[in-house]
């Protein structure tokens, strides 16, 4: 037997190419294209009273300038609100080019196309826009206060208000023997892929077809949106994703203004046009995430069991709402993690501010929810003087309770039902990994030496693999090589490797013979996109199903040719052979030749499929229920999400003098069901943890009161370097397969980043003896907190406002 590939830590087949610089990213393409630059608003909130392009017209090499006035038809309408939801009371999206008002610094007002980007920027500088500034709304507090409105027709700055409740949380809290309230804050961060956004479009006036390349997480989504905006039939639009240098969520938003303006210009000018976003543009005109204020009330018993939990939070959605309520809905539902409070109520407002839009960034609302829940559990443990892990275990959903229905509606509009998971087993693994039981002694010994060390713990559950569907196409070439295509895109996940592993197992072939293509609408036009840790689950399953379909056909064609029963055949290393008689065999390439009845031989091998050689003369060469060729196309549409989970522990040391925060150990226990490739999963976890370290200790997006982003560069937006990320991340896996898909897999893409704010807050609280309630935290913040807490008995202070207990 060929050894099984799924489960093997196979090296990523895409790496050699990427590591030697042979990757082809958007800006590597279209070297002869005209280039587009964008005039962006310098004001957070203003009316545009005039745009004067006269001076810009003198720039040599200028090809065109477009403002809102130049847009017509669907292009002149606001960009789509991609995911409508009944709770949205004022859904506003921006125009591709601002019509008469700008709502954040960075909003596109005009675009210039010129022979190159230098000249395009020269022209942008010469466009004179007159503004009447309006008062900006910056930050959740200001949005809530609503002294000024972002959109005149969105009262209270409220985009949406949403409540879900299971049981009677208020009553349960009132009746509980212990109660606490917490006020928590978490700031903005951003996906910040190393490659920003980018679009290249080419219009073929002969065939009236548009071909575009874009650095996106959804080529089919862009295709549909561009076709609609430009008034083209889908069949006239092709969208291809080249190598994508990271997405992390921001590139699932579509269409970006540039994604419709570049093809518009390419069609109008009759030549290829390209836009390559620069770093500053990415900070001020792409998307951010994470900013929330949270108020939590919890009632619990003496064992720490949560009887009632009521969460009210305010979510900063930025100036517009193109991605609907996905982020706050995920916060509100995934907050529950592996726990089952007696009753739960969650209420949120999604609020407009005059800042960059907020759309999913890896973790997509979960980090905030986990932070709320885990801070609460630490507070309960502190209040009762219980071990933090014990309080968590007390509230776990048990394996015997799976599938577990929370009674809530999840982000995919479907019931929040956990499919599988063994939380007690995961916690036991983590405690063993980090040495939980030895911690008190270690901490005491360190304190005796004047060192401050802290241990943090945080658990999460992550809904992954959301629908509606993905598809897969598998084709055996007459060369015996195998072509696999799926419509969703890749941004570095290693899909070429993981999907090839799946196909290798299904077909009994070597991975070397498999070529996987993603994100090319010419190869696979039906797809949703790569987000929500869904690619392995949805495309992986679809590709497995498609491969099974091909396998059935291989066996049928080969059985005819070998005059054997399909049941008696096996495929080993690319050969179909009769079980027990390996001499009677046929290469897959030959089977492919035979699957396609020919009139014309094109080479020696293909003679075998021509009309005087094969076929029963009493039957049509291609049977009614058959098709020529050796290929299969199938789809996987999940009933609902599958739920991965994990638990992280971190040990930090805080410098008593400088308040610097150092990571001593980082431990992860991770359960994403069946592992396709442990190396890839661990790589995903490493990357997620690195981003989590950034979000917890370094990154924040600092707006001043005027709505100017103060740190729109990598100089001041402190994405961690490799030197800030723990050198080793210790990982242990648990595999509880999902019953929902053919391979038993769950998503792994976002896991590493989800518990970071929670786990670092927990560890720093443990080190300092006072509760951390605002994240991220810098040494300067910690220094100021120490001063505020100086004099209080730090090591006995609880996280929360204490309610009188009964």
């Amino acid at each position: 037997m060929t050894s099984r590939m799924v489960g093997q830590p196979v090296n990523r087949v895409e790496d050699p190419r990427l590591l030697v610089g042979a990757g082809r990213f958007l800006d590597d393409l279209g070297q002869d294209a005209a280039e587009l630059a964008v005039l962006r608003s310098p004001h957070a909130h203003a009316r545009i009273t005039d745009i004067d392009v006269t001076a810009a017209l003198e720039v040599q090499g200028l090809l065109a300038i477009y403002t809102y006035e130049d847009l017509s038809g669907p292009l002149a309408d606001p960009l789509p609100l991609l995911i409508p939801h009944p709770a949205i009371c004022a859904g506003r999206t921006q125009y591709a080019l601002a019509r008469d008002e700008v709502n954040y610094v960075g909003e596109a007002i005009a675009v210039v196309v010129a022979e190159n980007r230098y000249l395009a920027e020269d022209a942008v500088e010469r466009i004179v826009v007159s503004y009447r500034p309006l008062p900006p709304v910056v930050g959740v507090q200001a949005a809530r206060a609503a002294e000024h409105l972002v959109h005149e027709d969105a009262p209270g700055n409220v985009a949406a208000h949403f409540v879900q409740e299971v049981g009677d949380a208020a009553a349960a809290i009132a009746a509980a023997p212990f109660r606490l309230e917490l006020e928590l804050a978490i700031e903005r961060s951003a996906s910040t892929p190393l490659e920003g956004r980018g679009v290249l479009a080419q219009w073929d006036s002969d065939s009236q077809r548009l071909r575009m390349w874009t650095s996106t997480q959804t080529s089919t989504g862009v295709r549909a949106a561009v076709a609609a905006k430009l008034g083209l039939d889908l069949g006239r639009v092709e969208v291809i994703t080249p190598d994508v240098g990271g997405g992390f969520g921001v590139k699932i938003v579509h269409p970006w203004p540039e994604e419709v303006l570049v093809p518009m210009a390419a069609r109008a000018l009759g030549r290829p046009v390209k836009f390559t976003e620069d770093r500053r543009e990415h900070f001020i005109s792409a998307a951010h995430e994470r900013g929330q204020l949270q108020h939590i009330e919890v009632g619990f018993d003496a064992t720490g069991r949560i009887l009632g939990l009521s969460v009210r939070f305010w979510h900063d959605n930025g100036a517009y709402l193109p991605y609907g309520l996905i982020v706050p809905i995920i916060t509100s539902t995934q907050l529950l993690g592996p726990y089952k409070p007696g009753a739960y109520r969650v209420e949120f407002d999604s609020l407009y501010t005059n800042t960059v839009i907020v759309t999913p960034y890896r973790g997509a609302g979960r980090p905030q929810g986990v932070y709320a829940m885990e801070r609460t559990l630490d507070a309960i443990a502190g209040e009762l003087g219980l071990d933090r892990s014990v309080v968590r275990a007390t509230n776990f959903i048990q394996p015997s309770e799976m599938p577990y229905d929370h009674g809530l509606i999840f982000q995919d509009g479907r019931p929040l039902v956990y499919d599988s998971g063994d939380f007690p087993a995961s916690l036991a693994k983590l405690k063993a990994l980090v040495g939980w039981d030895d911690w008190p002694a270690y901490q005491a010994a360190a304190r005796a030496q004047g060192r401050q060390v802290g241990l943090g713990l945080a658990c999460y559950v992550e809904g992954t693999g959301v629908g509606p569907y993905e598809g897969g196409h598998v084709q055996i070439e007459t060369s015996g090589r195998i072509k696999v295509a799926t419509g969703l895109t890749s941004q570095g996940q290693g899909h070429q490797t993981a999907f090839a592993q799946i196909v290798a197992d299904e077909l009994g072939v070597s991975m070397d013979d498999i070529e996987v293509v993603t994100g090319d609408t010419r190869r696979f036009p039906y797809a949703v996109g790569t987000f929500a840790s869904r690619a392995a689950v949805t495309s992986g399953s679809a590709i497995a199903l498609a491969a099974r379909m091909v396998r059935r056909k291989i066996l049928k064609v080969a059985a005819d040719a070998l005059e054997a029963d399909p049941e008696d055949l096996e495929i080993v290393e690319g050969m179909v052979r009769v079980k027990g008689a390996p001499g009677v065999a046929m290469a897959l390439g030959t089977v492919a030749v035979l699957s396609n009845p020919l009139r014309y031989a094109f080479d020696e091998a293909s003679k075998a499929a021509t009309q005087f050689v094969v076929g029963d003369s009493d039957l049509p060469p291609v049977n009614e229920d058959d098709e020529p060729g050796l290929e299969g196309r199938d789809y996987y549409s999940p009933l609902r999400s599958t739920f991965a989970n994990g638990m992280h522990a971190v040990i930090v040391e805080t410098d008593p003098e400088t308040a610097e925060i150092k990571i001593l150990r980082y431990c992860v226990v991770h359960d994403c069901g069946t592992l396709i490739n442990p190396l890839i999963v661990e790589g995903q976890v490493h990357g997620g943890v690195a981003q989590g370290v950034g979000g917890a200790l370094y990154e924040r997006l600092v707006y001043d009161d005027a709505g100017q982003l103060q740190n729109a560069s990598f100089m001041d937006f402190l994405m961690p370097y490799v030197s800030e990320v723990p050198e080793s991340i210790e990982i242990d896996h648990l595999e509880t397969p999902s019953p929902l898909n053919p391979l038993g897999i769950k998503g792994a893409g976002e896991a590493g980043v989800i518990p970071s704010a929670a786990v670092f807050a927990s560890a720093i609280s443990d080190a300092e003896g006072f509760a951390i309630t605002a994240m991220p935290i810098s040494p300067s913040d910690l220094f100021e907190l120490r001063r505020r807490h100086a004099g209080t008995d730090r090591h006995n202070e609880s996280i929360a406002k204490k309610e009188p207990t009964r």
Binding site: R117, Y118, E121, D122, E125, D278, R279, R280, E657, T658, A659, E660, Y698, V702, Q710, N711, M715, D716, L718, P720, Y721, S723, E724, S778, P779, S780, F783, E784, R787
Partner: protein
Amino acid sequence: MKPSAFDYRRPEQLDEAIDLLGELGPDAKVLAGGQSLLPLLSMRLAAPKHLLDINRIAQLDFVSCGADGVRVGALARHAALERDAGARAVQPLLSAALAMVAHPTIRNRGTTVGSIVHADPAAEMPAVLCLLGGSITAMSTNGQRIICASEFFLGPLESALWESELAVEAFFPALPPQSGTAFAEISRRHGDYAVCGVAGLVTLDDDLRISVARAGYLSVSATPLVLDLTDAVSGRTFDGDLSAAGGLASAAVDPEPDIHATADYRRHLVGVLTNRVIVGAAHRAAREITGNGATQALPMPGAQP
């Protein structure tokens, strides 16, 4: 993020460069390592008509060490100075501070003179130059002049250099006898500009008691700040309680807040880091006197050798 158009000149001789600068004057910018200038051009925060690239002027590419100190030519890269064994022997503070300047790749291109001319208040080498009482040699068509460090830094990104002048050399005085130096800084990420940085210089008397203690500061004022801390610790033995130095320093600074640190946190760091470098420098001076490992790096907790 693309520069606006400029003319590009790359003279191979120093006098040619001086003449060009005289001719082009305020419309020209000197391009050395480009590590600070190119980002400014790309963000269009600077739009000079002419760039005068000095990278081909071999004459300026030198580090020369004498008993009096270290002369650093305008083309000497941070990395070359950092690795120069002679410079390390004559003035060990140079390599200690350079190790804190950005990342190795940036040090491979960025020049120490360029960094001084750039006059970023968060940069290490201006503070080192000031603490040591060094100088800059400038040339123009009017001739040559030597500007001492205390007069060179006028404000953030503003130096005493005239627009038509080329800085050709920086001079860092040698370590005085019976002395030691140390450097410490706190930056948010490895290699970032410091939130606060301190260079310390201590001279001991024959009884290993402190006779001079001075420190140079970055990121706490608009121009590099030098404080004489001798009053706080004078007469104390090198291994005694020197923490009065930190107290004096933190009371003497008036830092600004920014998005990375509050003013109070910076002031606090001034105290903490001052103590670390004064202790480190005092120990090193003692080694110098007692003859153990003269200028060898002495590992000190917290202070970079």
